[in-house]
Subunit: 487 residues, 2 copies
């Protein structure tokens, strides 16, 4: 994976078109900015109940967006990362429809998990409560087959997303087929979506258990054999995240966004720097994604303290709501039928009160943090909360999933904050020092310097939180330092 | 219960005010029309997640609407029917909040059902699938207590509605307290909401099992001791409905609305008349309610055929969608986050294509059918589908839950269809023959006569479906008949 800034984007929301439109945007107004692109799900259909994360045909590009040839062509311009949705398929998929029609006679019968696949003798209240749930409902749905019988299919997320048995022969074959498609289309990295839930065992949390690591290791081996790297998407306690990082190719640094917000809101870099002491180096950094801003990642876990104290997290959430003039409150929690209460829905730009200075400092910190930085398309354009889309769909996360036409993109790029961000991206892409060693120092909670050193050359970011100032400078041994970016 | 037409209404949607506003409407533009009123839930809060059916304080009138004195005063004008929500209380109730805070130490600990109250040794997939569910999810929610432990509370409907253990001492006391409040406020009938789900036993459907009948019998006894009648609300197979009717004070005739639609859509009265052969006489008739138009009540059940064939039901649903120009489709099923797929959301007036003639024939059939007729406030005013409210709330049933200001009411009453409906209501209220014996005759599928005879006097409704005509006439022995209403 190139050590350069990557873009996270939907195909249809950046340019309001198909793959060719996106290509035009990438080789036009966004030319030369990105070493890689994480393309959010574009499989058939890309606009299902969970915005592409519930494909009915995972091995096909949605024809409304293009085809595998288009993807292949795009892979010549930038490294491509795509989602491998390992945990489930749509209830509309031909495979599941076949099971509904034919029951045990279906060739796909073993592709899907039921409650009794895991609990053949039933489950007690305690066993069920042991299961880690992202939502307060149970992980099964009662679904009627054509013959009138009913089964409890395992549905970690929604009744429209049926969990597959990744340990069955059919499950293995299903995933391998998709991997091969990806390989042929020139995909260089897969992002394992919701993989923490893939393996279920009685009397466990059914989340990131030892068998899950074995499964990820095995899948990683298959992917590597096809020259594909693996990024694992998991939100969890920071120590768990560190343990996971040691066992897989790459993880996200999901602690970074709330820590950056805490740093800027409170002029207190101590928790951020404490995190840099231990944070995984094989990570992808983000401030914003298609999901909300996660807070679980800096929280406590069963009595073990987190990177922020509970009161600090509460304050953080309230400050986001305040800075966004209450918009994030409307998009978060029960207010927006959003059951992921551990995430706050808000554009990162609005979370910082649309303050250009603070926003650019946040990005500079991200780019100097260990890991490869990804920038979400709405954040790239300093896009504001989309209250109109939220009102239309009532999906909380749509506040940060704006549709930009090609004209909108041109207009947004003219903003000084975006121009300054582009400069920052170019610095991050071009300075060879980022391939060196990371270090930091701090004289006070409100002042700190992050540095990367390669041989005798250093690039540094100095932040003064009290003054809301940041300077990037380079230095060679025995030469005076040289400021190259400043806000 | 007076054998006269009753109104079903929300307090705040008919007049857009409180109990005093409704009183003004009832003694003004709607004066003298109703022998009774079913007032939809007005407890605290009346505007929760399930429009009043999830009170946190069931024993209190929501102060925004008035108080028990207001209800008492209203009971002097018409017989009042109110909902006793026996199955659950709001998760926001002080009782449930106390359990969350104190766990087993709470005095209300036994008020609420958990999975292990019913399945102490756990449940198998088969046992769980046996449970009759109105929705595809499981009947439990994982809820965390203050001490960090998790329990599976029984939640038949939503995680915001926690099922109570009506067999526990606390449960009994809870219901009795509400009954006493009702009695003091002059309530003459209670409607048992969702009572079919009240009793749970392993290896049963947990729906209308023998123990449920025992519970209803016991509750009915308590109510009668306070001079309160009991209406049981259950949607089910028509034979089951007949069996239930034999065991309780009163049931709804939920088969009537789809049968009337079938009759008018297809000029075929055969299924309707077949139903009148066996339909319970101790029933309340409706065409519209605050819920959708139920189709389960005329459907088949486990191989036993229903009052309409599956194809006839499919046609019926499609015809409603067509007559309402697709509006009902937008409000029904997954399209409107409405999980009650056995109901079609549409105003009854729109279901008949806003055809005044057909709408009045439908009401005439309802009023001549065995039972005491209720008219829902939106139907009373021939109110159209409220697409604006639907778009705002995305709650499918809101299509038929319009807010009418006092001005709106005055305006709607001017419509000829409403004037003609008022005439019909007065005939139904005043003709003594409706206290006599019911009979019907039919010479062809498209022609039939419904009659009521008391001593030597008869009132009849003759319908000609081919001509879309209906005539009401009275006759005394040896005298020529006399037309009193005609469309």
């Amino acid at each position: 994976m190139k050590n350069q800034v990557q873009l996270i984007t939907y195909i249809d929301r950046l340019g309001k078109g198909d793959i060719r439109t996106l290509e035009r945007v990438l080789s036009g107004p966004l030319k030369g900015l990105f070493g890689g692109i994480h393309m959010l799900p574009f499989f058939t259909p890309f606009d299902g109940a969970d915005a592409g994360f519930d494909p009915s045909n995972h091995a096909q590009v949605d024809p409304r967006l293009g085809d595998w040839q288009d993807i292949k062509r795009l892979s010549g311009q930038a490294e491509l990362m795509v989602d491998l949705i390992v945990n489930h398929v749509s209830s509309e998929s031909p495979q599941f429809q076949d099971v509904l029609a034919k029951g045990e006679q279906s060739e796909f019968n073993k592709l899907f998990l039921t409650m009794s696949s895991v609990f053949p003798n039933g489950a007690t209240e305690q066993q069920i409560c042991n299961i880690y749930r992202p939502r307060p409902n149970l992980p099964w749905s009662m679904i009627k087959l054509a013959d009138g019988s009913t089964r409890l299919f395992w549905t970690t997320f929604t009744a429209q997303q049926i969990d597959i048995d990744v340990e069955s022969e059919q499950g293995q074959q299903y995933l391998l087929n998709i991997l091969k498609e990806f390989h042929q289309a020139g995909i260089s990295t897969i992002r394992l979506d919701a993989t923490g839930y893939a393996i279920k065992r009685p009397d466990t949390s059914c989340f990131m258990i030892p068998e899950t690591f074995d499964f990820i290791a095995q899948l990683t081996e298959q992917a590597r054999a096809l020259n594909i790297e693996v990024l694992v998407e998991i939100h969890s306690y920071y120590q768990t995240q560190i343990e996971i990082a040691a066992k897989v190719d790459r993880v996200y640094d999901f602690a970074l966004p709330p820590l950056v917000l805490h740093t800027l809101f409170n002029k207190d870099a101590a928790p951020l720097l404490q995190w840099f002491n231990v944070s995984p180096r094989n990570c992808i950094t983000v401030l914003d994604t298609h999901d909300g801003i996660g807070v679980i990642d800096v929280g406590a876990d069963n009595g073990r303290s987190g990177l922020l104290a509970p009161q600090q997290i509460d304050d953080l959430v309230e400050q986001i709501h305040r800075h966004s003039n209450g918009e994030s409150r409307l998009a978060t929690g029960a207010a927006a039928s959003n059951l992921d209460l551990y995430q706050v829905n808000c554009s990162f730009y609005d979370a910082l009160g649309k303050n250009d200075q603070l926003y650019l400092i946040a990005r500079a910190i991200q780019f100097f943090a260990p890991g490869i930085p990804q920038v979400y398309y709405q954040g790239l354009l300093a896009g504001k909360n989309d209250m109109e889309l939220l009102a239309t769909t009532k999906v909380g996360r749509d506040i940060n999933r704006r549709y930009f036409s090609e004209q909108d993109i041109e207009a947004h790029i003219q903003q000084p904050v975006v121009q300054k961000l582009f400069e920052l991206i170019r610095i991050r892409n071009e300075a060879p020092e980022f391939n060196g060693l990371f270090s930091f120092e701090s004289t006070a909670n409100h002042e700190f310097v992050l540095s990367w050193q390669l041989n005798d050359s250093t690039i540094s970011l100095a932040v003064d939180l009290n003054q809301s100032q940041a300077i990037i400078f380079t230095a060679k041994n025995a030469e005076p330092s040289h400021d190259i970016w400043k806000i």
